[in-house]
């Protein structure tokens, strides 16, 4: 009885590991497709229209401070995740 229990325990763990490995493979394939198609295409279009997402090559300025004025807002604003 103990051996059977042990077998099923090991079997379940093996299945779990197998499932995790499969999900890693599927995730990698899906994410690669999303990256190449979604991110890649958007990025290329952005490069054509000269849209910058990060200011990496920002020209030199007198000051790099930008206005923020982050202060108390309406309560509803804090329910938002953005």
């Amino acid at each position: 009885m103990r051996r059977i229990k042990h077998f099923f325990k090991e079997f379940r763990e093996g299945l779990k590991d197998f499932g995790e490995n499969i999900s890693i493979i599927v995730n990698t394939i899906l994410l690669s497709l999303i990256y190449l198609i979604g991110v890649g295409l958007t990025s290329m279009i952005a490069k054509i229209v000269k849209k910058k997402f990060l200011h990496i090559k920002e020209p030199k300025k007198e000051s790099y401070w930008t206005d923020l004025n982050l202060k108390k807002n309406k309560r509803e604003e804090y329910y938002k995740q953005f």
Partner: protein, 586 residues
């Protein structure tokens, strides 16, 4: 009214509980999970917070989260869009956690906690600012927050007035002092978001003279610094915006060599680079602080964000700038944002007046005498019960004076990264070899890292060249000051190579037992100072429970453990407990 603040999924997850504006409990998840800098949802810290007040999740009126996740995700996506195809590897590594955890925080909170009421999201740097200002002694203060990066922001400055905070200016990613510091930390072979303080300690071994340290001039090329303290990183020297490494090849060329491997010898070049980085960081922050003083016209300063852990510079701020008073909370890094989030909701959003000043850091779990006794008896641990507090102090002071290494476990655990006399290892600073003894017996640290002294606040000015009055952040081990020359040889075990010490000052009102122990030790040694180092082994979080403390002692060379009123001698107990749970359990 109870408000729960939560911070997680980047580094140093934590939870904090406010009761009618007073912080009644706060802890980092790592102390419970035993994973250093644990990033996971802080379920154990939350359970502790609720248990400490005998309440359930139904009693919580609001939960606050320490950032706006969608804004942060926008920044992450922007990095990938801008850096395609270079960011492929980091995209594959980071997206699963965004999809499964970070963008589902509301679902996680509701599911894990079975919570049905409000969840509020506070901007990351606002959480930093609130986490220091709203629990500070200042009614009005200038505020500066600096860290690696929040959503988009890396540096903000503004003003706090009663229960309002206005962050007026910001500097955005990829420009970041925190990320510069982390990049050089990584270049020097140390771990990012963990070992920045080691680079700070290493800097004292390098050439701190700006005119002779060639790396200081070189490092100035990596940043365009303006007179008003604003700055722009020269991104030719960094790759953190698309790779899992931080320094670029150009940075390696600039610094005359490749990235140091962790087990490689630390050379003079590495020390000079660390010194140059510290000098550069100080230049930048001084300029920012002068600007902040100019626009706020306020003499009180609140400093927050991970960069506020740079205790070497903190100790120079009042001398280098026009600010007259400074306050930093015990955990100014990301861990501290859970307090900020909860405080901001209570005081700023709900408009309640401030009624609480954080005077000590003892916000974590504590254990009653009976709980400790049960643990010891259940695990058949040999101990001596000490009848009176006086006897406990005399015995412990004598053990330390005789060069024993003593684990000190008393009261509630500290909040923040420093051990402040609740979960500390204490030893004799007058023994010149104590640094080596501690390293051999317990800590196994890099040789260049100093140990910290603790001194009673009323004795500090005799031994240390502190600002007057001594700023409160020294109570949280956040200020480094020079040790007076005549004492440097006497307490050489805590004197860093440049003659400084990262002291902790202690007031009797904060922790009378700890204070009295130092005084008692002073009666024997004539110098009322102890070495105070965190109660852990290198690479592990500070101990939390009696079990953690006992296990740590038995697995190391700590000679005695003083836990509540019980004295345990290591040699009286079987040593195989480190690797075995046969005898000890929680």
């Amino acid at each position: 009214m109870y408000i729960l603040g939560i911070g997680c999924y980047y580094h140093d997850s934590s939870a904090a509980l406010l009761k009618d504006g007073e912080i009644v409990a706060a802890a980092q998840e790592e102390r419970f999970s035993r994973k250093k800098h644990d990033t996971s949802f802080p379920i154990n810290a939350i359970i502790y917070c609720l248990k400490s007040q005998n309440i359930t999740i139904k009693d919580i009126d609001h939960i606050g989260f320490y950032e706006k996740p969608f804004l942060k995700f926008e920044r992450i996506l922007s990095q990938h869009l801008q850096m395609f195809p270079l960011s492929f590897k980091t995209f594959l590594n980071s997206m699963p956690s965004w999809i499964n955890e970070k963008l589902r925080i509301i679902r996680t909170i509701r599911k894990e906690l079975k919570y049905k009421k409000d969840i509020l999201f506070i901007e990351h740097h606002l959480s930093h600012a609130a986490g220091s200002f709203l629990i500070s002694p200042f009614e009005k203060a200038a505020i500066l927050t600096i860290d690696g990066v929040g959503e988009w922001t890396t540096t903000t400055c503004g003003i706090g007035n009663e229960n309002d905070i206005n962050l007026m200016k910001e500097i955005k990613f990829p420009n970041s002092i925190g990320l510069i510091y982390s990049t050089i930390t990584s270049y020097l072979g140390f771990s990012v978001n963990n070992s920045e303080y080691k680079v700070m300690g290493l800097s004292s071994y390098g050439d701190m003279n700006k005119s002779t340290n060639k790396y200081y001039k070189k490092l100035k090329k990596i940043i365009d610094l303006k007179e008003d303290g604003s700055y722009k990183n020269n991104m030719n020297y960094f790759i953190y915006h698309y790779a899992d490494k931080m320094p670029s090849r150009e940075l390696c060329k600039l610094l005359d060599g490749p990235i140091r491997k962790p087990d490689e010898e630390i050379t003079k070049r590495h020390k000079d680079i660390a010194a140059a980085l510290q000098l550069l960081t100080e230049d930048i922050i001084t300029k920012i602080l002068n600007y902040v003083h100019k626009i706020t016209k306020c003499d009180n300063l609140i400093l927050s964000g991970g960069v506020a852990l740079n205790s070497v510079y903190n100790g120079r701020i009042l001398r280098n700038t026009r600010f007259k008073r400074i306050w930093i909370q015990p955990d100014p890094g990301d861990g501290g944002t859970s307090i900020g989030t909860a405080s901001y909701i209570y005081h700023s959003i709900l408009g309640n007046k401030r009624n609480f000043i954080l005077k000590d850091a003892y916000l974590g779990p504590g254990y009653s005498t009976e709980e400790v006794r049960n643990f010891l008896d259940k695990n058949k641990i040999k101990y001596t019960e000490i009848k009176s507090e006086k006897e406990l102090l005399e015995k412990t002071a004598r053990l330390i004076y005789k060069d024993n290494v003593v684990g000190w476990f008393q009261g509630r655990m500290e909040w923040g990264p420093r051990a402040l006399g609740a979960r500390s290892i204490l030893s004799n600073p007058c023994n010149k070899k104590m640094k080596e003894i501690l390293n051999i017996k317990v800590k196994h640290r890099e040789k260049f890292r100093p140990f910290a002294p603790v001194v009673c606040e009323d004795d500090a000015l005799k031994y240390f060249d502190c600002d007057i009055p001594i700023p409160e952040p020294a109570d949280f081990m956040l200020m480094v000051y020079p040790i007076k020359k005549q004492w440097q040889k006497e307490i050489s075990a805590v004197t860093h190579v440049d003659g400084s010490g990262r002291l902790q000052t202690i007031r009797r009102s904060q922790n009378h037992l700890y204070y009295d122990l130092i005084k008692q030790f002073g009666k024997l040694s004539r110098i009322p100072i102890l070495i105070n180092t965190s109660f852990n082994i290198r690479g592990e979080p500070i101990v939390c429970t009696p079990y953690d403390a006992y296990k740590c002692m038995m697995g190391t060379g700590i000679d005695y453990l003083v836990i509540d009123k019980f004295l345990i001698r290591r040699d009286d107990n079987p040593k195989d407990k480190w690797n075995s749970e046969k005898y000890a359990n929680d």
